[in-house]
C-alpha cells in the first residue's frame, strides 16, 4: 500500500501555511513513522495534485480551509465529504483540492480507488505575510495527533495485508 501525506498551503499567506506547518511538525515529532510513508509539501499544487496522487493507494491531505467554524477548528473530511465540495467556483488560477479531486475521479479510475481524507484547519487570516494566527498555531499539535492516528491506521492495514 502506497501512502502519501501531503501538506498543502502557501507559506507566504498567513494561516494558509497551516497544512504545511502541521505536516512539518508531525515529521519532527514522528520521524520514524515519517520514513515509512511518502511525504510531500505542495504550495498551490492546483492540478498538479493529480500527479502527486498517481500510484497512491491512500492519501492524507492537510490544508487550511475557510469555514463558518471558529479559527483553529479541525475538520476531518472523508472522501464523500470532499466530493460534496466539488465544482462551482473554478477560480482560473487556483484549482482547489475538491475540484481537482473531482476532475481526477472523472479522468482516472485508479484515483477513484485511492482512499483520500483531508484534515482541514480552519484559518482566520490569509493576508500576505508569514506566521500563523494564534488560534491556528495552538491547534497544530492536535492536528498532528489526528494526522498520526490516520497514518497509523493505514500502516496497520498495510502491515496486515503483507502478512
Amino acid at each position: 500500500m502506497n501512502i502519501l501525506i501531503l501538506g498543502i498551503g502557501q507559506s507566504l499567506r498567513g494561516d494558509d501555511a497551516a497544512g504545511l506547518e502541521a505536516v512539518r511538525l508531525w515529521q519532527e515529532l514522528c520521524p520514524e513513522t515519517a520514513q515509512r510513508v511518502r511525504l510531500e509539501f505542495a504550495e498551490l499544487p492546483g492540478l498538479g495534485l493529480l500527479d502527486l496522487l498517481k500510484g497512491m493507494d491512500a492519501a492524507v491531505l492537510v490544508d487550511a480551509v475557510h469555514a463558518m467554524s471558529a479559527a483553529g477548528t479541525i475538520l476531518h473530511l472523508s472522501q464523500d465529504d470532499l466530493a460534496s465540495f466539488a465544482p462551482g467556483s473554478g477560480s482560473a488560477h487556483g484549482w482547489g483540492v475538491a475540484e481537482t479531486l473531482a476532475l481526477g475521479r472523472l479522468l482516472s479510475p485508479s484515483l477513484a480507488e485511492c482512499r483520500i481524507t483531508l484534515i482541514g484547519i480552519v484559518g482566520e487570516k490569509f493576508d500576505m505575510g508569514t506566521g500563523l494566527s494564534q488560534g491556528v498555531r495552538e491547534v497544530l499539535p492536535a492536528a498532528c495527533s489526528l494526522l498520526d492516528q490516520e497514518i497509523r491506521s493505514f500502516l496497520r492495514e498495510r502491515n496486515a495485508s503483507s502478512c
Binding site: 473554478g90 488560477h93 487556483g94 476532475l103 472523472l106
Partner: protein, 429 residues
C-alpha cells in the same frame, strides 16, 4: 428601477461587479467594477535590493510568474546599463516557453472551451470528453516540467536573477523532456484544428492592437511596442503613449492611450502584429486555418492561443536541442543609480515595468502595468456592445453570456476568489 443580480463570475480572477444603466431601454452606462483589493507591490518593493525584485514580483501571479520575472530583470538591467549573454537570453525564452505552454493549455481547454461547448465547467467537459481534458492536462504538465527543470518548481520558479540565472540548469532533465515536447507539438497542431470546430459567437470589434514586436523573432522579451494603428515606439517611451489611471469604480487601474482610447493586448494582438515571426510549424498551422488576419473576434483569441501553443512547443524543442551552458550563468553586476523600463509579453499581453534604483541597488520607485489593467477599458467597451442582448436575458443567461466574453480575455486581476454582481438600473431624469 430594474435590477438584475448576477452571481460569481467564475473562471476569471478578482472580484468584479458589472453595472448596466438603461434609459428608455437603451444602454447608456456600463461599468466593470473591480473590488479586488490593491496589493501594494509597487509600494513595498521600495527600499528592497534589486535582486529581490524578480522573486517578489513573481508572487503577483501564480500562472505568469515568469512574465513578472522577465519584465523586471529586463527593466533593472536597463537601469544598470548591462546586457545579458545570448545564452542567458535563450534560456529566458525557454523558460517563457514553459509558461506559455502551461498557461495557454489551461485557458484553451479548461477555461474557455467549456463555455463554447455549453458546459458549465471543465469538470462537465471532462465528464463528456475525458480524453480531451486528459490531453490538456498532459500538455499543461509539459509546460510545468520545463519551468521546474529551469526554475526548480513550476509555481513561482526561482533561478532567474538580474544579470542572468543563479545557476545553469542541468541539460539532462531538459533533454529528457524532448519526447513529451514532441508529443505536445503534435497535440498543439491538433488543438489548432480542433479550435476551428468550436462555435464562436459572432462579435467583431475594431481594436487597436498593441504588442511587442521584433523583426527576427516572435516578440516575447525583446522588441519595440507596436500598435496596429501605426505607432512603433521603444519600450522606454511606453508611458508617453500609454497611461494607467484611477477610475472611481475600480480598484484596478485602467490603461488607455494618451488620447483616451482603449486598446487590446494579448494573443490576438500578438498574432495579428507578429504572425510573420512565428516558427514554421506555427506558420503552417495558421496558414491551414485559412483565417484572414487580423482576427477581430475576442472569442477567437482561443485560436490565437492555439497557434501560439504550436510556436512555443516548437521553440522549446529547438532551444533544448542546442542547450549547452558555457561560462558564467550571470553577470557580475556593478551597482549604480539609474532608471530603466522593460517589457515582456505575458501570456495575457504586454507587461511593463519601470524601476529607479540608487547607487546601492535599492529600489526607489516602481511602476508595474499588467496586461489585464490595459485591457479593462476594452473589456468594458466590449460588454457595452453586448449589453443590449444581456438586458433582455434571464439573470442566469445574462451571467453566463457576460462571463463568456470576459473569460475570452483570460483576465488575471489577481489570484483570488471572484464575484460578479450584475446590476441593471433604469436611469430616470
Amino acid at each position: 428601477m430594474k435590477t438584475i443580480e448576477v452571481p460569481a463570475l467564475a473562471r476569471v480572477e478578482g472580484e468584479g461587479g458589472l453595472y448596466i444603466g438603461l434609459k428608455d431601454d437603451q444602454v447608456v452606462e456600463i461599468r466593470l467594477d473591480i473590488y479586488e483589493p490593491p496589493r501594494f507591490f509597487e509600494g513595498f518593493l521600495v527600499g528592497r535590493f534589486l535582486q529581490e525584485v524578480p522573486d517578489i514580483t513573481a508572487r503577483i501571479c501564480g500562472i505568469c510568474p515568469v512574465a513578472y520575472q522577465m519584465s523586471s530583470v529586463t527593466a533593472l538591467e536597463k537601469a544598470l546599463d548591462v546586457e545579458v549573454s545570448p545564452q542567458v537570453y535563450t534560456l529566458r525564452r525557454l523558460m517563457y516557453c514553459g509558461e506559455y505552454i502551461e498557461s495557454h493549455a489551461l485557458h484553451i481547454y479548461l477555461l474557455q472551451a467549456p463555455d463554447l461547448l455549453g458546459q458549465a465547467s471543465a469538470l462537465d467537459l471532462a465528464a463528456i470528453a475525458p480524453d480531451v481534458v486528459k490531453n490538456a492536462l498532459r500538455m499543461k504538465k509539459i509546460g510545468n516540467e520545463v519551468l521546474k527543470a529551469i526554475g526548480g518548481r513550476s509555481v513561482h520558479p526561482v533561478n532567474a536573477c538580474v544579470g542572468g540565472f543563479y545557476r545553469w540548469p542541468d541539460a539532462t532533465p531538459l533533454r529528457a523532456l524532448l519526447p513529451e515536447l514532441e508529443w505536445g507539438l503534435e497535440a498543439a497542431k491538433e488543438t489548432v484544428r480542433w479550435s476551428l470546430t468550436l462555435p464562436y459567437p459572432d462579435l467583431k470589434i475594431d481594436y487597436e492592437f498593441v504588442a511587442l514586436h521584433h523583426a527576427d523573432e516572435y516578440g516575447v522579451i525583446k522588441g519595440d511596442v507596436w500598435s496596429s494603428k501605426g505607432s512603433k515606439i521603444s519600450v522606454a517611451d511606453y508611458e508617453t503613449h500609454y497611461i494607467e489611471e484611477h477610475v472611481k469604480h475600480s480598484n484596478a487601474l485602467h490603461g488607455h492611450t494618451v488620447d483616451g482610447g482603449t486598446y487590446l493586448v494579448g494573443p490576438l494582438a500578438r498574432l495579428n502584429l507578429n504572425h510573420a515571426q512565428l516558427l514554421p510549424a506555427a506558420q503552417k498551422a495558421l496558414k491551414d486555418t485559412k483565417l484572414k488576419l487580423p482576427l477581430k473576434n475576442p472569442y477567437k483569441s482561443l485560436i490565437a492561443r492555439a497557434v501560439e501553443l504550436v510556436h512555443f512547443y516548437e521553440e522549446a524543442i529547438q532551444m533544448i536541442k542546442v542547450y549547452q551552458p558555457d561560462g558564467p550563468a550571470h553577470l557580475d553586476l556593478k551597482l549604480k543609480a539609474g532608471e530603466g523600463a522593460g517589457a515582456s509579453e505575458a501570456p495575457r499581453g504586454l507587461l511593463y515595468h519601470r524601476y529607479k534604483i540608487d547607487e546601492n541597488g535599492l529600489i526607489k520607485f516602481v511602476k508595474i502595468i499588467p496586461p489585464t489593467a490595459q485591457n479593462l477599458p476594452r473589456i468594458e467597451a466590449d460588454l457595452f456592445a453586448l449589453a443590449p442582448k444581456l438586458v433582455k436575458m434571464e439573470q442566469e443567461q445574462a451571467t453566463l453570456t457576460a462571463e463568456h466574453l470576459v473569460r475570452s480575455y483570460d483576465p488575471c486581476i489577481s489570484c483570488a476568489t471572484h464575484f460578479l454582481k450584475l446590476k441593471v438600473e433604469e436611469i430616470r431624469d
